[in-house]
């Protein structure tokens, strides 16, 4: 235990002991005062002496009552003696009470100390056990989660590869037969169609490989001090004409934050592109606003598109979760989340009740403006 803990312990013991000692002292004083009042010159003792003399005198005058008076005399004398005895030992009684109460106080404190040490030891042991169990469980869950992710990836790959493989297999399988059975003109036409189909499917596979590659090889975050309003205005200038059905406005605070402009551009653009893909030809109005609290800058990327279904909202940042059709692998938002977390911030979807349309909030920590 440290010196500070010992000091606290001693203060606590003093706080417990002091009232006991003071109250004990007061009680002793009061009981001794009471005894003195009873036994003192103006107290009971002279009255008892008078009473004894009176009994004796009465017995002399009335011999017939001697036995009765003698009995009373003895009782009074016993009382007088007892009072005298108590008066003689009152100092010792006070000492005895102090000694005994001190013993009791120390015993109680020792028991309390022992119990608290014993209990705290047990509590610490229990917490350690719980912590170990928690670690074991966390490790199990991590392993299970990793296995589940691999299974999910395998299912996804099978699904994505099977789609282009089937037409490729059909074309390749028929090629030999068509070559033997079809006249050259028709075979040439068939070959052209088949070749185009194969090219399309190969392009689809390449696009898929590209997506996985992006996910697998996300570049390292390279943060540098960036003026937030300037950054967002540059983004708006760059992407305002990206699509015919897009309207983009920016409103931001004058705050310099540490971020990777390339990856943050990618994050915001990805959110915008997802919304455009999900809403088809429907015209969308985007607003990118940035405000701040004491420790964070909040960039809100909102649009007036169709709300995301409730069942998808809860797992929207999980890989392979998408609502925009079979061509999308559902890795974009996972990548966005990773970029936000790598910046020491977070990305989250605002509740449908809070906004009209869809709004994501990208939180960035403030106060870290040195170049990374």
């Amino acid at each position: 235990m440290t010196l500070k803990v010992w000091a606290k312990l001693i203060i606590a013991l003093a706080l417990v002991t002091l009232p006991l000692i003071v109250s004990n002292h007061i009680l002793q004083r009061q009981s001794l005062d009471l005894l003195n009042r009873v036994h003192g010159s103006g107290g009971v003792a002279p009255i008892l002496d008078d009473h004894l003399n009176l009994l004796k005198e009465t017995a002399r005058r009335e011999p017939s009552r001697t036995a009765q008076l003698h009995s009373k005399f003895q009782k009074t004398l016993d009382a007088k003696i007892a009072l005298d005895d108590l008066s003689t030992v009152q100092g010792s009684i006070a000492k005895e009470i102090t000694s005994q109460s001190l013993k009791i106080t120390l015993t109680v404190l020792a028991i309390a100390l022992f119990l608290s040490l014993f209990l705290s030891k047990n509590i610490v042991a229990t917490f350690s056990w719980l912590h170990r169990q928690n670690q074991v469980q966390a490790s199990r869950l991590q392993t299970l989660s990793a296995i589940e992710s691999w299974q999910k990836l395998a299912r996804m790959l099978v699904h994505e590869l099977r789609a282009p493989l089937t037409p490729l297999k059909l074309v390749a399988g028929d090629l030999d037969e068509k070559y033997r059975t079809l006249p050259p003109k028709q075979f040439e036409s068939y070959l052209q169609e088949g070749s185009q189909l194969m090219s399309e499917q190969i392009a689809s596979v390449e696009a898929m490989v590209e997506s996985f590659l992006k996910f697998a090889k996300l570049p390292e975050v390279t943060k540098r001090p960036t003026h937030l309003r300037e950054f967002l205005e540059q983004f708006a200038d760059r992407y305002r004409d990206h699509s015919a059905n897009l309207s983009l406005t920016v409103a931001a605070v004058d705050e310099t934050v540490s971020l990777d402009p390339e990856l943050c551009t990618h994050l915001i653009f990805n959110l915008m592109r997802n919304a455009l893909e999900a809403n088809g030809e429907r015209p969308l109005t985007f607003t990118v606003t940035a405000d701040q609290t004491s420790s964070l800058c909040h960039i809100t990327i909102a649009n007036n598109g169709r709300p995301i279904p409730e069942d998808i909202c809860a797992r929207i940042f999980d890989p392979y979760v998408t609502s925009s059709g079979p061509t999308n692998l559902g890795l974009g938002l996972t990548i966005c989340k990773k970029i936000a977390l790598d910046h020491g911030g977070d990305l989250w979807l605002k509740s449908n009740d809070e906004v009209h349309g869809i709004a994501f909030q990208f939180d960035l920590p403030k106060g870290e403006t040195r170049e990374a």
Binding site: I81, I93, E96
Partner: protein, 162 residues
Amino acid sequence: MTNWGLIVLGLFALEAGSASAKPDCAVLKSAFTEQIVPRIKTGVPFELMYLGSEGDALLCRQTIHLTYDLWDEKVSLNRGATQLGKFPLPQTLTALCGHLMCEPSETPRGRYRARVLLNPLWEGRLARFQDSSGSGLVTINWRKLASTLPSEKLLLDVEVVP
């Protein structure tokens, strides 16, 4: 009378030619008259203790409990549960000397010291306050208390030449 006075008186009495190893009863007379009698008359029992010692060695030790019966005005001398006798106040000094002052069991080599102490209480007397049930958390040990009480007075301190 001071203790020194008693000592001188004691030595004077001894020089008078007593051959006994016990001090002469006369040495106790003054203390008896001035201190023991008023104490007896209160009716509260007390103990007188006689100690004969040579250096640090205790040669003899005797205790007498004095109880004055205020009813018939007689002094009762007791040793433990044994009553040694009941005496009118004027004859008490002689009886007391006889029972209180003991002769050393071992012959002292030279002068030895004789003391008489007045103890207000003794173990057996306070025992009547002892709670026999013993159920209380905090109990006063009356016997122990009595044994630790100091003597109230030194009534006599003389050197005896056997």
